[in-house]
């Protein structure tokens, strides 16, 4: 399986994402600079965490306007699996590829710790390997992970089984403890926790592996 990792100025989990993808797929991901306007032919695209444009103005706002984004939107329409983690999730909401917005954490502080999650969604390209309802641990590290959407949108996300992960505890004030959501076609996943930081026994946990393995199908 071939993959690509988008790189924006200020991305800082790009290498981590590439290492994780390579360790599961056995193939070196292609790194795509935000100024490109075409995407390589791959089977999955990952948008990594970090502080694109310093998180200035709003997290992900400036990256969402990058030259590469029209190509990403095109790929999304064509059904390409896209994974956005942390800042990647923020970029996906800012660009309208996923609904809602990510605001400053409820307690206003950056939070870095391992959290307990429930895999809420049934089948999807990303969660198939876990099984609905399973409990997993992944690290979070963010300042703006507080998921916000209007009541209708939240109802729709839940009703359509598009909430991928929920936090077992209130980590950041997110509406309905949402930690990750799927697009309507279930092929785009945005999530605040970092699966790429949980693929190697030295990370202290390997619950992130199943997410990448699910992609392999």
């Amino acid at each position: 399986m071939d993959s690509a990792v988008l790189v924006f100025p200020g991305s800082n989990c790009d290498r981590d994402m590439a290492v994780a993808l390579e360790s599961v797929t056995g193939r070196t991901p292609i790194m795509v600079w935000h100024k490109e306007t075409d995407l390589p032919k791959v089977d999955v695209i990952a948008i990594p965490g970090g502080f694109s444009y310093g998180d200035y103005l709003r997290c992900g706002a400036m990256a969402a306007q990058s030259p590469i984004m029209p190509a990403l939107a095109g790929a999304a329409r064509a059904g390409m699996p896209i994974l956005g983690v942390c800042n990647g999730f923020q970029i996906l909401t800012e660009s309208g590829l996923l609904p809602g917005a990510l605001m400053r954490n409820g307690k206003l502080k950056f939070v870095c710790r391992d959290v307990k999650l429930t895999v809420t969604a049934g089948d999807s390209r990303f969660t198939a390997g876990y099984g609905r309802g399973s409990a997993i641990h992944l690290p979070v590290a963010h300042h703006d992970g507080n998921f916000v959407a209007d009541g209708d949108t939240l109802d729709r996300l839940e009703g359509d089984d598009r909430v991928a992960f929920t936090y077992s505890d209130d980590i950041n004030g997110s509406a309905r403890r949402i930690a990750g959501i799927l697009s309507e076609n279930r092929r785009i996943l945005g999530m605040m926790p970092h699966p790429e930081r949980a693929v190697d026994p030295l990370h202290g946990g390997t619950h992130g592996r199943a997410l990448f393995e699910s992609l392999l199908g």
Binding site: P9, R15, A20, G54, K109, F110, A141, E196, L202, H203
Partner: protein, 581 residues
């Protein structure tokens, strides 16, 4: 230009004594103009010249077969095998953090990162050693929140994990908090970059952020004792831009993978002045800067402001001839400023021009070699009464019959309480090589793509140093050594940040000398050399000095990270052994 005549008042405002001014006139063979005076004041400040500490620092052991570069460069370098080196240093940002805790701490992290990646290393870990006043002092809460948020705000954004540190509270720090930041980086031993300029005619290049009127006089401020009205004066503090720093790291490392760079130096506390002087001094060459070519953020800046500005996220380098275009393309790709602002010239002078006119001309050796070197009087610390020494946290003398109660009080008190509230605000895992983050004895960070790990610990117990500087200095070194050893690492070398009060007081100078002697003894006994460090003096308000605080940052190597040891008990039924007396 510099039509001001230099008066006694102006000399005093620059923090120079009458004798120092006389020395300047003698070195130059004439009176300096204001720009030149500003440059001397920066280079001869305590911060840059180490005039009170230099002769004592010489006593520290700095050599071992694995030391590639000891003190004297931007950071120390040690060999960690397989053609790789660890590069590290610790630095203070105490006074700025007291005035503006968020930005002060943030720019402290930015500065120490630059010291490390200037040498060609990718930063892989940050640490921070913090001392605050009494928990119930009205300022403490605000300072703790601001400092911690600032460290996180900068380190998290640049994408370098903050993997540990230490935090103490004591009333002695009520008016002078300590914010010491350490960065560890990894480089290939054949790709280490130094600051000595060379090659007559080679271009001198400015990269990074633009220069503004930030913190003019900041470097001299850090060398002057605080007085109560400092807060009223509200000196300009610098605002950090971690986003630009992140781009600067990537751009510098990209250029460093070519062979275009002759020398490189970050613009530290004294900006263009210290970077250009140090590069010229180390390379024994002359250097001309055409100041109108400096990228400027504000209009109407004069040479004095450009040379003394402390704007952050800037670097100076010397390129091989003809490599400008290639270098410029890299910096443009990362949206950073790039400008050729001068060249290496014959002779030993730093010559400054502005629109074709020479506005300053100083013999570089006089700025460095002729800098004052004081043998300040020092009196040894007398043997202290137990009652004089701050208690190790909340007293539990009344609970001799209630062990559980005593333990509860101890671990609930400010000295021993969990620091989780602090370190959860730091991204301790980015780069995905953190094997042991905050919460253990030493942090462990895997060397990317290998089975090796670096072990890192910062330690000092200020009340020990206050009770007995020699034993306290020794103990701080030994504690890092033990913390590293406890993870299974071989301790290799240390950096340090020596925080003390006013060196013009013989008792304070006595603490300083005593701690250094103790550190030297421990380093020698443990074969554990000092490869870099920093001194912060005048941590004193209204005659009240801090506790002597020589923070030590130790680095060790675990050859096989799968064989590391952790602090937690791993299961029931295991045997507990106590080693040592």
């Amino acid at each position: 230009m510099n039509e001001h005549t230099v008066t006694a008042e102006i000399v005093a405002e620059h923090g120079l004594t009458r004798e120092e001014y006389t020395r300047i006139e003698a070195a130059m063979g004439r009176a300096p103009n204001l720009l030149e005076l500003g440059i001397y004041s920066v280079m001869w400040s305590e911060h840059c010249s180490y005039k009170s500490s230099r002769r004592h620092l010489k006593k520290l052991p700095t050599e071992a077969p694995w030391v590639i570069q000891g003190p004297g460069e931007n950071a120390g370098v040690i060999d960690i095998g397989d053609g790789q080196a660890a590069i590290f240093k610790m630095e203070s940002h105490n006074h700025p953090s007291f005035i503006e805790p968020y930005q002060g701490a943030a720019t402290g992290v930015g500065g120490i990162l630059r010291d490390v990646f200037t040498m060609g290393a990718r930063p892989v870990a940050n640490m921070n050693a913090l001392r605050f006043g009494a928990p119930d002092h009205p300022k403490t809460r605000h300072l703790v929140e601001g400092v911690v948020a600032g460290i996180g705000g900068y380190g998290n954004c640049v994408g370098v994990p903050t993997v540990g540190g230490e935090t103490n509270f004591d009333p002695a720090y009520n008016g002078n908090i300590l914010v010491n930041a350490m960065t560890v980086g990894v480089a290939d031993t054949d790709r280490i970059f130094y600051s000595a300029a060379a090659g007559i005619g080679n271009p001198v290049v400015y990269v990074g952020a633009k220069t503004g009127r930030d913190g003019i006089h900041g470097a001299t401020m850090a060398s002057a004792e605080f007085s109560e009205d400092t807060e009223e004066k509200r000196p300009t503090v610098q605002v950090g831009d971690p986003f630009t720093e992140k781009l600067l790291i990537e751009a510098c490392l990209e250029l460093m993978s070519t062979d275009a760079i002759v020398a490189i130096q970050d613009m530290g506390a004294a900006g263009l002045t210290s970077s250009s002087v140090e590069m010229a001094s180390k390379g024994a060459v002359g250097l001309r800067l055409d100041l109108e070519r400096v990228p400027q953020r504000e209009s109407g800046m004069v040479p004095y402001e450009m040379m003394l500005s402390e704007s952050q996220e800037r670097m100076l380098m010397v390129l091989k001839p003809g490599r400008e275009a290639e270098a410029e393309a890299i910096f443009r790709k990362w949206d950073l400023d790039f400008a050729v602002i001068g060249e290496i010239v014959e002779g030993r002078n730093l010559t400054l021009t502005f629109h074709g006119e020479t506005v300053g001309d100083i013999p570089v050796p006089s700025l460095v070699d002729d800098a004052p070197d004081y043998d300040r009087p020092h009196t040894p610390t007398p043997a202290r009464d137990r009652a004089e020494v701050p208690a190790p946290g909340d007293p539990v003398g009344d609970l001799v019959d209630d062990l559980a109660g005593a333990i509860k009080r101890l671990i609930g008190g400010p000295s021993l309480a969990s620091r989780r509230w602090i370190w959860e605000q730091y991204d301790s895992q980015v780069m995905a090589d953190t094997v042991a983050g905050p919460g253990g004895d030493a942090a462990l960070v895997r060397v990317h793509g290998t089975d090796k790990a670096l072990a890192i610990s910062t330690d000092v117990t200020p009340r020990y140093c206050y009770a007995d500087p020699f034993e306290g200095g020794k103990q701080a070194v030994a504690e890092t050594w033990r913390n590293l050893t406890a993870t299974g690492a071989t301790p290799l070398a240390i950096t340090n940040c020596l925080n003390f009060g006013n060196p013009e007081r013989p008792d304070i100078m006595g603490q300083f000398v005593g701690c250094i002697d103790g550190m030297a003894a421990a380093c020698a006994a443990l074969d554990y050399p000092v490869v870099s460090g920093n001194v912060s003096l005048y941590n004193e308000t209204n005659g009240v000095g801090i506790l002597p605080t020589p923070a030590i940052g130790g680095v060790g190597l675990v050859r096989d990270v799968s064989a590391r040891a952790a602090a937690a008990f791993a299961g029931a039924g295991q045997t507990i052994l106590l080693i040592g007396k």
